[in-house]
Amino acid sequence: MSKSIEERGYSNTDVLVSTDWVQEHLKDPGFRIAESNEDPLLYSSNHIPGAVEIDWTRDLNDPVRRDYLDRRGFENLMRRIGASPDTTIVIYGDKNNWWATYAFWVLQLFGHVHAKVMDGGRLKWIKENRPLTREVPKYQPSQYQAPKRDDTRLRAFRDQVLKRLRRKLPLVDVRSPEEYRGERLHMPEYPNEGALRGGHIPGALSIPWGRAVNQEDGTFKDAAELGKIYIEENKLRPADDIIAYCRIGERSSHTWFVLTYLLGFSKVRNYDGSWTEWGNLVQVPIENPSAERRDEAAA
């Protein structure tokens, strides 16, 4: 039997809740359960009773610019789901909570600190045969007042990444090893991951996000196991100034969550421009081991 969240040695156990805990709080008015998925059909197919949907494209992103929603947009979202600044948002979703941690991260950009992630996400809830419904709940709209979005602490931009290349500060690439190595997927007619170039940002460590997850049930590994991966194996230190990235910032928000809350790292930011920005930028440095191997073979 797996350890309880409290037994896993995390730096912060307040942001992670179990499926048992969620089932016990289904009717608690102080909580709002929210499902956030990549697959647009999943929430409508069924969800936890009382859960609202937070759709990452329609609800969290600006409809025109590549950016997140602004203060007004965030207020509208929180008002629609009937949340006040004191409401604790409990988020879960598909893909081992990629999108849940992404939504959690956006909440933090607006200072909504009352938020939790359900360990194991949607799949664990379903595997445990817990209740599901297709009924979409309706909540009394709130009068949520949000502060201006603060990108300074948790979000990184390309110029900051460029500067840190010179300073050799840690970057963590959380994509798959194949993406990191710049090997193209066999997807004819489409650019590799939406970028014109493959590879990774020079000096970035390759620590795929999925290493933080127990594959059998999608829960987070305990602090000792996480420490082995991030601290012992990759020599990251809790006081390091770290930027994580992936393709668009969704998988790296998962790693941001792990480092910040489960291991207690003090300065981790998510570069949401990620590879879809970096791999398309003109004249930025890139390391591409697979291209270098091809060059060597041709020589």
Partner: protein, 154 residues
């Protein structure tokens, strides 16, 4: 503008008239009726060469020659959470099986946006487009080097 196969156009015409929530509901209903690949075509473990590259729903595609020279398309989706992949499989199987191969080969992969809407993530859209591309590739291959209908497939 090149026309899509008639049955596919009918699917799109229906889906595109629906509000988002109704479209999602219709796609879920379609996914729930998704016909799995019959055992005579393939049995687990499915061969990796039939797996759709880039599709995290673990979708597989097969094509079986028909007497008229067209193909019947079959699918498996191994991830039980892969509802969009199941819906797409059901639509492609219905809309493209028995359709002239040239028409199938010409179906643009980004038809997935007309089915699901523009709000697909890049990863999800690549996986779904990969399914369309596997079907197109089967049609192209059949055009170039036709495989005759087998007795078992009659």
């Amino acid at each position: 503008m090149k026309l899509l196969p008639e049955r596919l156009e009918r699917w799109l015409a229906t889906l595109e008239t629906l509000e988002r929530s109704d479209r999602m509901q219709m796609l879920i209903d379609v996914a729930e009726r998704f016909p799995r690949v019959p055992p005579r075509i393939a049995q687990r473990p499915y061969p990796t060469e039939r797996r759709v590259p880039g599709c995290e729903s673990e979708a597989y595609v097969w094509a079986e020659p028909k007497a008229d020279g067209t193909l019947t398309y079959y699918f498996a989706v191994e991830n039980p959470q892969g509802i969009s992949a199941m819906a797409l499989a059901a639509i492609l199987g219905d809309a493209l099986s028995g359709v002239p191969l040239e028409e199938v080969a010409a179906v643009p992969a980004d038809v997935v946006y007309r089915i699901f809407g523009r709000e697909l993530s890049m990863g999800k859209s690549l996986g779904l487009m990969g399914m369309v591309n596997m079907v197109r590739a089967a049609a192209r291959q059949q055009l170039q080097a036709p495989i005759q209908q087998t007795k078992e497939g009659e």
